[in-house]
């Protein structure tokens, strides 16, 4: 294994250890019967959330390794100290470990495969949201030493609890570690699924099989090492539910987790609202308690990103939906229709299989079998659809079940009328997995042999399908680790213009770059994440941002290229150098790099082959 991979494991481990500095905090609100794994998970999540929010609050003014590295180091030491007391208990085996071994081995295999596949460096085109913006923000924050939304990429203004953790990895010089942060959240999700199943009094073996089914659900595991934040959001939402059913003493811990969910993704505000309503309706929480203790804590923990947006961009939710824009922004703040492309893009992605009452009734069927139509290739197996109704019916008198059902129903309804993209409904799907555990247990315990055979078939056949899907998706990344040749093939296939980026990143002459806009939305474009040098873009490729206003076009930008302060231009076009103060320095079939003329520099043209020859000794 290469040192970069070992360093990535060390960096992710350091962040995990730092989170354990919070051992013994929120877990105190859990019932005494809660397992050690549950306690460590919720405390670790508290640590990850608190560290990220703290770093964000300071990072808005100064985000540098000068204070971050020592702070993380000290927290990791505290984490080690606190962990020392727990370690002997961690290794204690359950009495019925033989029954639990098969499902837990499956879940462990998935975690291991994801962790290994995640050891490749990020590679993807503009279609890869994880690289296009979840990683782009952290890269620029670390480069500029301040956490700030990027004018050329709207989504970098989203709440970014997880992205701040990615930025820690980059500050600690690891581009690989962010995918391992995803794996840490994935493990936390599996523990919490187990925990919630056990709260509903599902058996240990059944709960373990539900955990294995979640682990092998492509909809869930395919986002884990792709730098998405849907699994972390689900983890915080599920932790909030776990605390909500733990009793009145856990109200503050519930609020903390809801705040973290809001800090992870805008849709965390929806899960928080739904949690609040469900607690009011079914868990007998008094409105006074919720208003007096829950809401203030949620606002305190969840508000930093929204407050930053309000101060810096004039609106707490950015890009603002129409109503929010009218409420907070003056008409002249941005050009008319500035956000139209963003919302048009979201509407296309979130179309699903259509709205209307008929599609709502058919949703369980459509979403289970045709998840790909909701941009969720691979689906999530059959456990929620097959065993969910049985589990709900069997335990319908339990307040926790009513709470979960209302929570999942409200979330699904809001999802259905807003943005019907599959990964946004992962929290609802996971709650259905939990509810299904009781149904699965009933079928496993049936006296009728055909019921048991069918139950195992419904559980295992989609799991085999999920395993095949997972291996087919992640094997190119694992293979890329095995040899330099495989790695080169992998990057050539997944990074558009890798040669161009290599030239820019290795050349001392390049100090800053202008990235031109592609000629149309269907034209391949360069992802700024791969640039190690400062850059400006004429136009955001996906959402039409105009960071250089009043400059709107490539031609205007190229005419003013000297005033923009860039030294080079990267473009897929062949530019007319007689019209602009530029000369060609590097070209490949994908694109070209032009250098801005210095007054005393002789214009020089070179092809890739000439440059290769020149670089040879």
């Amino acid at each position: 294994m290469l040192p970069a991979e070992i360093w990535a494991i060390a960096v992710a481990g350091l962040i995990l250890l730092a989170s354990f500095a919070f051992l013994g905090t929120t877990s105190k609100a859990l019932n005494p019967s809660a397992s050690l794994a549950e306690r460590m998970t919720v405390d670790g999540l508290t640590g990850l959330g608190a560290i990220s929010i703290g770093a964000f609050a300071i990072g808005c003014f100064n985000f540098s390794s000068t204070w971050l590295q020592p702070a993380l180091g000290i927290m990791a030491l505290v984490g080690v100290f606190r962990l020392r007391a727990h370690l002997p208990k961690v290794w204690k085996l359950a009495d019925d470990w033989r029954l639990l071994a098969p499902p837990l081995a499956i879940a462990s295999f998935v975690v291991l495969l994801l962790a290994v596949a995640g050891l490749t460096e990020p590679a993807g085109t503009i279609a890869h949201d994880g690289i296009y913006y979840h990683l782009l923000g952290p890269v620029v924050w670390v480069r500029t030493g301040i956490i700030k939304p990027l004018a050329d990429c709207f989504p970098t203004a989203y709440p970014s609890l997880v992205e701040t953790l990615f930025a820690f990895c980059l500050i600690l010089k690891s581009k690989i570690a962010p995918s391992l942060i995803g794996v840490i959240f994935f493990v936390a999700l599996l523990v919490l699924v187990w925990s919630c199943c056990r709260v509903l009094e599902a058996g240990r073996q059944t709960s373990a099989w539900v955990v294995a089914a979640v682990a092998l659900a492509p909809l869930v595991n395919c986002t884990v090492i792709e730098y998405f934040v849907d699994v972390p959001l689900t983890v915080f939402a599920l932790a909030a539910l776990r605390f909500a059913i733990a009793g009145p003493s856990a109200i503050v811990a519930t609020a903390v987790m809801c705040g973290f969910a809001m800090s992870t993704k805008y849709t965390g505000s929806i899960t928080t609202a739904v949690t609040l309503i469900s607690m009011l309706v079914f868990l007998g929480k008094s409105p006074g308690l919720l208003i007096g203790r829950f809401l203030p804590v949620v606002c305190f923990v969840g508000c930093p990103w929204y407050l930053r947006n309000w101060i810096e961009l004039g609106v707490p939710i950015y890009p603002p939906p129409g109503v929010v824009q009218r409420l907070f922004m003056s008409a002249s703040a941005v050009p008319a229709g500035y956000f139209d492309e963003f919302f048009r893009f979201s509407a296309i992605k979130g179309g699903g299989m259509g709205g209307g009452f008929g599609n709502l009734i058919l949703l369980p069927y459509q979403f289970t079998y045709f998840t790909d139509n909701f941009a969720g290739a691979g689906g999530f197996g059959l456990v929620p659809l097959a065993f969910g109704p049985i589990g709900i019916w069997q335990s319908r008198q339990r307040p926790e079940v009513k709470f979960f059902v209302l929570w999942a129903t409200l979330l699904t309804l809001i999802w259905f009328v807003s943005d019907r993209e599959a990964r946004y409904l992962i929290p609802g799907v996971i709650v259905l997995f939990v509810l299904a555990s009781k149904g699965l247990q009933y079928c496993f315990a049936s006296v009728k042999r055909q019921t048991r055979v069918l139950a195992w078939s419904v559980l295992l056949i989609p799991m085999i399908y999920g395993l095949a899907y997972l291996i087919s998706v992640d094997s190119p990344r694992v293979l890329a680790l095995l040899s330099a040749e495989q790695r080169a093939t992998y990057f050539e296939k997944n990074v558009l213009g890798a040669d161009l980026f290599a030239y820019i990143n290795s050349s001392d002459e390049v100090r800053s770059v202008l990235v031109t806009a592609p000629r149309s939305n269907s034209w391949p474009t360069f992802v700024a994440y791969y640039l190690d040098k400062p850059y400006v873009r004429v136009r955001g490729e996906l959402f039409g941002e105009l960071p250089l206003l009043p400059i709107r076009t490539n031609e205007e930008a190229l005419k003013h290229v000297k005033q923009l302060g860039v030294t080079h231009v990267i473009t897929e076009k062949n530019l007319d150098v007689s019209s602009y103060p530029l000369h060609l320095v590097f070209q490949t079939p994908i694109g070209r790099i032009y250098q801005v003329n210095k007054d005393d520099v002789k214009v020089e043209h070179a092809t890739k082959s000439q440059l290769d020859e020149r670089s040879e000794p």
């Binding site: 079998y369 790909d372 139509n373 097959a386 019916w393 069997q394 019921t451 069918l454 056949i461």
Partner: protein, 45 residues
């Protein structure tokens, strides 16, 4: 008792078989017109 009522409404074995047959037909055999086989509106893919 609760599960007896469930069985009256829909037999569990029939329900599980229905869920599984749909999965095998749609995902493994790629019979995307399974909805036509069971005389339901075409739900497409």
């Amino acid at each position: 008792m609760a599960m007896k009522s469930f069985r009256v409404i829909i037999g569990i074995e029939w329900w599980l078989a229905y869920v599984l047959v749909n999965f095998v037909a749609i995902n493994l055999l790629s019979i995307h017109t399974v909805s036509n086989l069971i005389k339901l509106p075409s739900w497409g893919h």
